[in-house]
Symmetry: C3
Subunit: 258 residues, 3 copies
């Protein structure tokens, strides 16, 4: 499915996307998913996951602001999704900052996410390669993580998206690169987390590699559009949400380089 | 009390409103209450509810992003408010998605909220009628929930507000409809939750039916005003907060249809 | 270090600032720190604090939306920071509203914060003087809290910042006052909490008194700049983030009165 068809389908179906994400991203990620045309559901109680996750179109899990009750919910939701053939997306935020988080990321990868999205430092670390990340920021170039992404895709079975100035996407065999976006994007908190949520929305309507490619293209185009009107990170965020809603399906073809 | 007088009183008194709401809504709901002219307090620790709730002007409870520690806090706060004659407002977000949430909503209704606010699917389900809700979105028309709202108002003793393109409000005897707003409102996350918080602010200064009517009118007018200047959901949110602050008391009369 | 040099240094080093803050502030505080030029990390799991806090440039703790698991994390992080000579900043939000919160604030002060930032009512109460605060709002003038701030600075060893229309800062010996800002600032939720986070960013690059002075100056200038373009609290927030990013180091000298 092309990005163009994927966006049309997403807007027609408005799929329900369960997002278990961090406190910082909760509001902006929901707004990103809504602006794009899908229906976000921030549900994380272990009491309702067995009943709710199976009716979602997709699930996304992001380990920022991790703590024990949330990790239990994430594991249960991932397991439920995996058992029910619900595609799910993993965002291993800054998982290299502690043993606790490293283990969390490793345990979640074992639940067979359909897509893994991270910055270069996160993907390098997840593939077992030393990087230079600092907190939630990448200290490594996307290009330096391409081999790690391919290797991670092969071992995990997931499509792996490494985001940065030019995004890299692979399922171990195919690759794609998506350009665009804006230098202001890393200046707005939780946009990467929000991209993960949007990737989940696409995963509800099209297979993993196509879903990630469409989400990357949608984000890159909206970012480039927003930059034209922004005077800083505050106005960027506002124009970005507007642009996510206003991007037309046919526009998405322009963003994908390879 | 007319909506006009209610808004004047709200701005004069700047009542303290305790809001126990979900993670998605926390920031925008506080900003909505502040912009309108009241003072929000996001307090949910069971350790401080017995001391804090009795000094609040009103309490609002929203069960989005529910989990066990929060549910305990909600029940204690509702009980404390009810025992202390503090009016409180219930927002039974998507309570039909799981047994866990359904029970939570039912248990909270038993604590005699002064006002219940929800979309049509939520109010239908709370009145025991099958609806077509999906996640946090309503799958039913407001008109289809009018009888359910009246029935719920009579059995619960609460004023019941069903929000949508034209809002419906009833206390079982009286009814009101409020028009206005914007088609962009469902594209911004947690605006319904924020309306619940604002309803609490009004409930601190005027009786339940009048409070809900004033809050609906204030929201509808600010929404219509914001739409004039918005280019999408991002810019809508910004203009909406500005409009909530800039609406004058006399304007509120324009919004109420019946 | 002058505010000018402090901001240049902050932007050169982009220090990692661990922020344990409330749910309302989480997103806007991260955006404020990012816009200013530093790198926020919202990390609060007790499982990773022993490993993460020692690598942060500074730590900030804000007790809004307090609950027991968060209080444990705050105490552990404060202790870890104090033991590792990591400067940390305390924001005792509304600590006078309950015994629970009062004890939390007192226990945290005992962990030797480098800086304490609060409104007049919060600083008065922390110094043991009765004030007139209501929820998160100050009911007292900054001027009325100057003696309390000096006394608190001497007993705690912290630089104490009392924020309001004109901010007051003291380390018990030196004092400074910072003017500017905007009357719209109290109409946007969590801006005070975000100032605390920004103060932490400066504390990572310069000693406490200088750090607080630079943060106050940066905030005041950005606030005054944003007000020029704002039509209400919604647009203010957007222009404020833009202005935080666009303020140049040399501008900071203009804000400090004494």
């Amino acid at each position: 499915m092309t990005p163009e068809t994927a966006l049309s389908t997403l807007r027609d179906q408005a799929p329900l996307v369960q997002c278990i994400t961090n406190y910082v991203a909760m509001n902006i990620a929901a707004n990103v998913v809504l602006a794009a045309g899908a229906s976000p559901a921030m549900v994380h109680a272990t009491e309702e996951i067995p009943e709710f996750t199976p009716v979602a179109g997709a699930l996304t899990i992001n380990i920022g602001t991790l703590s024990e009750p949330w990790l239990s919910a994430m594991k249960l939701a991932a397991q439920t999704a995996q058992g029910g053939n619900i595609p799910w997306v993993l965002d291993p935020v800054a998982h290299f900052i502690s043993d606790y988080r490293r283990r969390a990321a490793t345990d979640l990868v074992a639940q067979q996410p359909a897509i893994i999205r991270g910055n270069a430092s996160e993907i390098l670390a997840l593939a077992g390669v030393a990087g230079s990340g600092k907190g939630a920021d990448s200290g490594d170039a996307v290009e330096a993580a391409e081999d790690a992404a391919k290797s991670l895709a092969r071992t995990s079975g997931a499509a792996v998206a490494v985001t940065g100035p030019v995004d890299f996407l692979t399922d171990g065999a195919r690759t794609a690169r998506v350009a665009g976006g804006s230098a202001l994007m890393p200046k707005v908190t939780a946009l990467g987390c929000s991209l993960t949520a949007l990737t989940g929305a696409y995963a509800a309507v099209t297979p993993p590699f196509e879903a990630a490619r469409a989400a990357l293209a949608h984000f890159a185009l909206a970012g480039a559009e927003a930059e034209k009107q922004a005077s800083g990170p505050g106005s960027f965020q506002l124009h970005f949400l507007d642009a996510l809603a206003n991007v037309q399906p046919a526009d998405l073809e322009k963003a994908v380089l390879i």
